[in-house]
Symmetry: C3
Subunit: 343 residues, 3 copies
Amino acid sequence: MKTNRGRFFEDYTIGQVIAHAVPRTVSGGERALYHALYPARGALYSSDAFAQSCGLACAPMDDLIAFHTVFGKTVPDVSLNAVANLGYAEGRWLRPVFAGDTLRAVSEVIGLKQNSNGKTGVVYVRTRGLNQRDEPVLEYVRWVMVRKGNPDAPAPDTVVPDLAGAVPAKDLVVPEGLDFTRYDFSEAGEPHRLGDYELGEQIDHVDGVTVEEVDHMLATRLWQNTAKVHFDATNREDGKRLIYGGHVISLARALSFNGLANAQMIVGLNAGAHVSPLFAGDTVRAWSQVLDIAPTAAPGVGAIRLRLVAVKHGTPAFSLKGADGKYAQGVLLDLDYWALMPL
Amino acid sequence: MKTNRGRFFEDYTIGQVIAHAVPRTVSGGERALYHALYPARGALYSSDAFAQSCGLACAPMDDLIAFHTVFGKTVPDVSLNAVANLGYAEGRWLRPVFAGDTLRAVSEVIGLKQNSNGKTGVVYVRTRGLNQRDEPVLEYVRWVMVRKGNPDAPAPDTVVPDLAGAVPAKDLVVPEGLDFTRYDFSEAGEPHRLGDYELGEQIDHVDGVTVEEVDHMLATRLWQNTAKVHFDATNREDGKRLIYGGHVISLARALSFNGLANAQMIVGLNAGAHVSPLFAGDTVRAWSQVLDIAPTAAPGVGAIRLRLVAVKHGTPAFSLKGADGKYAQGVLLDLDYWALMPL
Amino acid sequence: MKTNRGRFFEDYTIGQVIAHAVPRTVSGGERALYHALYPARGALYSSDAFAQSCGLACAPMDDLIAFHTVFGKTVPDVSLNAVANLGYAEGRWLRPVFAGDTLRAVSEVIGLKQNSNGKTGVVYVRTRGLNQRDEPVLEYVRWVMVRKGNPDAPAPDTVVPDLAGAVPAKDLVVPEGLDFTRYDFSEAGEPHRLGDYELGEQIDHVDGVTVEEVDHMLATRLWQNTAKVHFDATNREDGKRLIYGGHVISLARALSFNGLANAQMIVGLNAGAHVSPLFAGDTVRAWSQVLDIAPTAAPGVGAIRLRLVAVKHGTPAFSLKGADGKYAQGVLLDLDYWALMPL
């Protein structure tokens, strides 16, 4: 059997290190496609001139290009037989990715817990993305529910990693050279600096984008993500394809430009839940809430912790959870991240 | 309120200068996407070798990539609350855009006229696109009908700019170094040189292209054009998205290769009307008419003034206006432009 | 009449050489789009670092990017009035194509045979793709059935070229410098080397991809292929567009990564039949069979001859031909090619 049927729950062991296949060089082509696929307008990622005025060599790839590329590498080894993508923690962007960089990914199994039904289990991996100089560009923990291939395989000892509720601001890595002291708010698109945002403030990002099957398949293929459910209409009775959760992250993040144009670089991923699936034909909207604000050591650069919530059109403004603590109908994504913003 | 709700009619004043946000670096990625989105085949834009044989450093970006990028920058400030895009005039391409260039846009308000209904008004802006060296690459006037935000806002003094009916041939700017004396007609795809076209001659471009929702959304996002009607199916009762008028310009221009393969560079935009909306599922066809022919100072380079008309499939050949002077059913676009062609 | 109505059968003569129009420079943009359009994961084409470890200067363009680009150039001259694309033979990739290369194509008519109905004929052309240094990058023979424009045109003398059933392994051209002695199987995605494959072995590639109208139109436009049937829904009563046969080749080749991840470079095209048309909404699957195995002079590099069969979802495993020698229902493509694989 030469084809990859993916790993099952019993194939993972604590401490196992998986070097994922197919390193990937990114270029201006990936950047252009990102702009075509998402309504992204962040000035730092759009303009070499703007990035240079902020102390970088040129415009980096969108931080989510780095994330999706690294994530895509892990799919054949981690989530081909996944039932659900359960969460993220301890994510940090460690270095910008520029056109010409080659990314690869390595994961370590840091947790295992068989479910009481005996048919599935939760696998926790810490994934690291590295560039062609073996410098880490990104790391994060995610956990997924994976089917057992052999229901009779014995349950492993339960190991549930102790994960931080959020990345402490002091652990965030600001790209070398980043300097927002000459930041041009007019070019960036909005006047709001870090001090203009209040803890708890909620922002409705107003715009919406209707999703088609082709959009998400182009994107998901671009990241070389091989999960069958995204591409093969014969997997579901209704012929629909399940949209890659990362596609929703990018849509919501791009929509959040309207109100958060200066939340320029994503540097931390504290938590994330893909609350409900998105399908073609749905229209996605987004809102954000300010969770925290912190200084950094870089000139003119502060950090803002944001909750980014994607919802389907028609969901009441600022929907999140009901009185029962469960997510409200129509919520698609609940993401908790850190971004860098001019002071 | 941190989000941009766009400017309303009463927010504009004569002489106001708006520096539009989010400068944009273009690359081979934008070029490749342009070729994927439109059936464009102009040799000068497809081949570095061909462009070099014409005296350029390498193949420039399609002139409409420059136009769409600059246009897209203006949308959040000029047409977010526009009811209609009424016209173009005095457009000139001033310098080719090459991969690696960063474009930004600045507009000046040059005309204002409140409509008699008191609810809307016409705003005239002269927009200029500049590269990273602050060299102008493109300028044009467009006017749009914009809603008033406050119906009680007083009407401004009416100022209607005196716009040229067409850019005089002597004012066209030929890119530095352009030389068509060694032009390879075989490589370009057609043998017809400027002298082969007659004033008044009409050309049916034969081919058609059926448009899908994804096509135009990818394109319009690529230009970072944020007008909601293009992306959000919930804006219309029928769930359709209104296709960005510039998408129709690019489709028609690309189709016009068949018969006008040597109308290589767009250097002037004399006038343009988005006559009726295009929707996904429609098939677009195009025809052209030769309006004028002129020499230029560059070796082997002439100028041809063309009317480019886009129509829906099923519209009779060479449809334009009826006896009543109104546009015929099925006409989508009526564009009047100058291109450079070998003598 | 300035537009191109294409050549008809009587317009071809034996020995006629046609230099096809519109040379094309490819870049990282074309590569990124290839990854977005097809689930391609070949490490040599994804990663500059991996390609360098194999002795190349950087990652080349996918061999099928070269093929589609050259093929697209020939369409306006060879197959605009084609009724069917009948076959391929004697195809060889002669040199990798890198970002920045400019491709052009030249074809020679090597065979003509009028059909007994007097309305159509078969045209055989040998096409060569060349780069900006006039170095050949690709050559192949294809034959198409073309309509006569004038039914009364006399039949030409019948010339049917004597074509090799397969490219002999000794005639395959291995790219200069290619060296698989330090090949990293883990990075490439599978452990199987040439010696792990047996003659006659069949591999079901497992995955499937559902095709949409936009996918194939984006791809086919990207290759500047102008055949009307791919773009214009008004050509068929059912409003469907016929999908470019090369799109199916790329889909099947990309799917074959699962089981043939180390069949890295396509160097020979022995034969190919577009058995039945593919339409949007169909889901494509693929299987391969090992037809031959051969050494090459390059260090660590072997050659594997593969039959690649694309089928519609629902077709029984390993479907090909029935007892009557006819292709089974659901078979889309039967392709016979040589690839290079580490020993």
